[in-house]
């Protein structure tokens, strides 16, 4: 076959593969996917309810898809400017899309909380200070 001459498609667009849809074979046939998916958080549900993919949301906001992905998985806490842009794009509010109980990460080790000046046993939930989630030491 010579390159650049698709015969079976006859100029039409190829149908999407299961990978493009983000689906498992079992999911395609209406079964539960394996391995089981983690439950979606508020931000992911809001995006899917708007019928947007991560790529489309990233293009609408002018950011990269990796940023959208890490914000959705709560790996990265965005600035309030980006959070407001996301809230406008998804027709929600910042309070609903970024609930504090999902953003707060459990403290690692014995750290002094600057907010109340006591040990972390007295402050079991350490607030995130700054724009980026603290990386756990590996």
């Amino acid at each position: 076959m010579a390159g650049g001459e698709p015969s079976a498609l006859n100029g039409r667009k190829a149908p999407p593969l299961l990978d493009d849809l983000g689906m498992d074979v079992r999911e395609f046939f209406g079964l539960d996917p394996w391995p089981p998916r983690p439950p979606l958080n508020v931000l992911q549900r809001a995006r899917i309810a708007r019928g947007l993919t991560q790529d489309e949301l990233a293009e609408e906001l002018g950011i990269s898809r990796q940023t959208v992905s890490s914000v959705e998985r709560r790996r990265h806490v965005p600035s309030v400017r980006l959070a407001l842009a996301i809230a406008v794009a998804l027709r929600g509010t910042v309070e609903d899309l970024f609930p504090p109980e999902e953003l707060v990460r459990q403290p690692v080790g014995d750290t002094v909380d600057k907010a109340c000046g006591t040990r972390s046993a007295a402050c079991p939930k350490e607030p995130l200070v700054g724009g980026r989630a603290k990386e756990e030491p590996s």
Partner: protein, 79 residues
């Protein structure tokens, strides 16, 4: 030079909506810092507009000031 409050100052005060909201409920910078769990310097620089809070701090500030994040930070021009 005109002294006192002009109409423009009353309609559009030169400070941020966050400072207006904080002063209107008689909170000091230290009070708000303790309530939201951030340092006084952080709160001060956010109020002056020289920094932006994160998406985890902004809802806590908005809740402490009894407003929404949109009202406090939607008009913020500085990144």
């Amino acid at each position: 030079m005109r002294f006192g409050w002009t109409r423009e100052m009353l309609l559009r005060p030169p400070w941020s909506p966050m400072r207006s909201a904080r002063i209107s409920i008689c909170l000091s910078l230290d009070d708000l810092a303790v309530i939201v769990g951030a340092s006084r310097e952080t709160i001060s620089s956010i109020e002056r507009g020289s920094s932006l809070p994160s998406a985890s701090l902004a809802p806590r500030i908005a809740r402490a000031l009894d407003t929404t994040v949109e009202e406090l930070f939607a008009a913020n021009e500085l990144g």
